[in-house]
């Protein structure tokens, strides 16, 4: 066959196994001899909330009027043991992200935005900054394996305490902060030398296992006079057992972070190949709570890839009490905005794909400590953007809830949902649309 024959055309065929990202990664590994580290959450396609749909109103089920007929969105956390449970106006909170991984203006913006709509923010690996406490009307304080920044006065200043066992991006991994982000201030807060690459513990220093966690929680309550709700956060691994054990260890709230959950920095293989999808984690966790008679008594907060009011509504319908956003909150602040496209190009990426948050060169001034860059983020404007986004999440969730006949978003239930794929049906425990079939469960129960 002549290669000049105009009939012949051979568009290049990309391999689905050795696709261009895989080939690039092998080249990178060969050049550097070290694993790839990045931020953001799992990027690969996974069964997620998009594979579920709400059924909506029909002849048998009547909707509520928008605006005039109330659809409640409040949620109270910590009713099990805390003397001072906290009430959020909306069922969306801001997930734990450290000062260190984020800039000071970013933390301030998160606080302003969350407070404007009556919800909470969470500290991260590194402790509580005074600005954070000042700008967040409700602040959850993390107790992490590293204990960077941990001290009793901060514990007492918090509105709730979150003992972190793990996070979705890296269940079993510790924190990671590279030298370029360990500024003077960060170094001082963490008692580390400036500019070094922080190594972090993956287990807590003074307890291992739920039986000893119970004793640790008791200590934290003693130090804070049993006032504050204690959350236990786990990455989605064995959610049925982990939830039951968190309850037995004495948690007021369980926070469950699916593999789509973001991180400031960790190994790429951890993000993409460890932990289970958020969608697969919720029903087992709720089942554990129900079997212990603790559903709604120990509250469940779900995170990992929450992007819209539809995601919020679906998580609540599957049994969560609230959701948490991390990546979406940063995007709302301005992360990955096309406004900075020229700069993204210089970083050899493009707006929407930027995930090298560990490098501390974020053009948006969010995941960086560089004063030149952080100057670009106006905490008041960014806070307003976050408040807007949180409001939209709430309104969207209410719209869906009303359309399904609910006067409170907590009355959303699994029976309001159907699945579009076999995987989503099996994971969420809801039937395939138009059928009464759930894989593994046969016909409708």
């Amino acid at each position: 066959m002549s290669s000049n024959d105009p009939w012949l055309h051979t568009p290049p065929r990309e391999s689905a196994i050795f696709d261009k990202h895989t080939i690039a990664e092998i080249h990178r590994a060969a050049a550097t001899g070290i694993y790839d580290i990045r931020g953001f959450g799992a990027k690969r396609k996974l069964p997620h909330f998009d594979d579920l749909l709400f059924v909506g109103a029909s002849i048998s089920r009547y909707p509520l009027e928008g605006y005039r007929e109330k659809c409640g969105t409040d949620v109270t956390l910590g009713t099990r043991y805390a003397k001072k449970p906290i009430t959020l106006k909306i069922p969306v909170t801001i997930a734990g992200m450290s000062f260190g991984s984020l800039s000071a203006p970013a933390k301030e913006a998160l606080g302003r935005g969350a407070s404007a709509v009556g919800t909470s923010t969470t500290t991260g690996d590194g402790g509580m900054t005074p600005e954070e406490r000042e700008h967040s009307s409700l602040l959850v304080y993390q107790v992490l394996p590293s204990r960077y920044g941990m001290e009793p006065d901060q514990l007492r200043k918090a509105d709730a305490i979150e003992v972190v066992v793990g996070q979705g991006a890296k269940p079993g991994g510790g924190g990671m902060l590279l030298g370029q982000k360990i500024s003077d201030r960060v170094a001082a807060m963490r008692t580390l030398p400036k500019g070094i690459d922080q190594r972090s513990a993956c287990r807590h220093p003074d307890w291992t296992g739920p039986d000893d966690l119970a004793i640790k929680i008791e200590e934290l309550r003693e130090i804070t006079e049993w006032e504050k709700p204690v959350y236990v956060k786990v990455g989605a691994a064995r959610p049925y057992y982990d939830t039951a054990l968190a309850v037995k260890a004495g948690a007021d709230v369980v926070v469950l972070d699916g593999m789509q959950g973001g991180t400031a920095a960790t190994q790429e293989v951890f993000i993409e190949h460890c932990g289970i999808p958020t969608l697969a984690a919720i029903r087992p966790a709720v089942k554990a709570l129900e079997e212990l008679g603790m559903h709604r008594k120990v509250q469940l907060i779900v995170s990992g890839g929450i992007r819209s009011g539809a995601d919020v509504a679906k998580a609540l319908a599957l049994g969560a009490d609230a959701v948490s956003i991390g990546t979406a909150a940063l995007i709302a602040l301005g992360d990955n905005h096309p406004h900075w496209q020229e700069e993204y190009r210089k970083l050899r990426t493009t707006a929407g794909c930027y995930d090298d948050w560990h490098e501390g060169r974020d053009p948006a001034g969010i995941t960086t400590q560089d004063p030149e860059l952080t100057r670009r983020l106006d905490p008041l404007l960014a806070g307003k953007r976050l408040a807007n986004f949180l409001s939209v999440l709430t309104l969207e969730c209410q719209t869906i809830a009303r359309a399904n006949g609910k006067s409170h978003v907590h009355n959303l239930e699994p029976e309001d949902l159907v699945a579009l794929t076999v995987e989503a049906s099996a994971m969420a425990g809801v039937p395939l649309a138009g059928t009464d079939w759930i894989p593994g469960q046969g016909s409708s129960r």
Partner: protein, 241 residues
């Protein structure tokens, strides 16, 4: 449970020199009282291995505990002086900010974990992970310490008159270790360092603070600390991570 009748002071605080009996009071009641006090001397009896006894104190208090305590005794202590006349369980003085904790007996693992300041004196032996992730605390152990002691220790001083177990100072940052006895093995990036005059002086101060300065010769000690080769990720160090 019958309460100890306690007279209250003008500010509603318990009168000094109070005895609190955990056989008749709960840990919660004892802690609540002591959290409300800004000064005073207290004797706590019958701890019987209970947990979180005197955790979270903040004040110029002097507390003595007669007996063995459970986990997290004196956790997150600020300013108070606490004497434990017995053994202590896991995490004694964990995250201590300041003040003094003195254990007359032995301690379980993770003694002084993540401690930021103050002084922890252990008359007996410490078990595994003594001083893990310490961040400025000084610890003086008159006996020996177990494996993984000073793991990821960031700042502060650990003085051990006896021996150290496996993996001493694994992944250590800037904390200083002074050891008189034998070390079973050193952890990743932990190396022996010179004992110069300033280190001997510092060690002397630590031993004085622990009340044994006169009885111990600083030149019998060796100093250990970070080789600092793991401070920046490097592929050639992968075996050490």
């Amino acid at each position: 449970m019958a309460h100890q009748p306690l007279a209250a002071g003008p500010a509603g605080e318990p009168i000094r020199n109070t005895t609190l009996d955990l056989a008749h009071m709960s840990v919660r009641e004892v802690n609540r009282l002591l959290h409300a006090a800004s000064q005073g001397d207290f004797l706590i009896k019958n701890p019987r291995g209970l947990h979180a006894i005197v955790a979270g104190l903040d004040g110029e208090l002097n507390v003595s505990i007669d007996g063995h305590v459970g986990y997290y005794c004196a956790g997150m202590n600020k300013r108070a002086s606490i004497n434990i006349n017995g053994n202590a369980g896991t995490g004694v003085a964990e995250n201590i900010m300041s003040g003094l904790v003195h254990v007359k007996g032995d301690v379980s693992q993770s003694a002084g974990a993540t401690g930021c300041g103050g002084l922890l004196i252990i008359d007996g032996n410490a078990s595994a992970r003594c001083g893990i992730s310490m961040r400025g605390l000084d610890i003086v152990v008159k006996g020996s310490v177990g494996h993984m002691s000073a793991f990821m220790a960031q700042a502060g001083n650990l003085v051990v008159l006896g021996d150290a177990g496996d993996a001493l100072g694994d992944s250590i940052y800037e904390a200083r270790l002074y050891l008189r006895g034998k070390v079973k093995s050193l952890g990743s990036d932990c190396v022996m360092k010179d004992m110069r005059e300033e280190h001997k002086a510092s060690l002397r101060n630590l031993l004085d603070a622990a009340g044994i300065g006169g009885a111990v010769d600083v030149s019998e000690f060796r100093r250990y600390g970070s080789a600092r080769s793991l401070y920046n990720f490097h592929i050639s160090n992968l075996g050490s991570y």
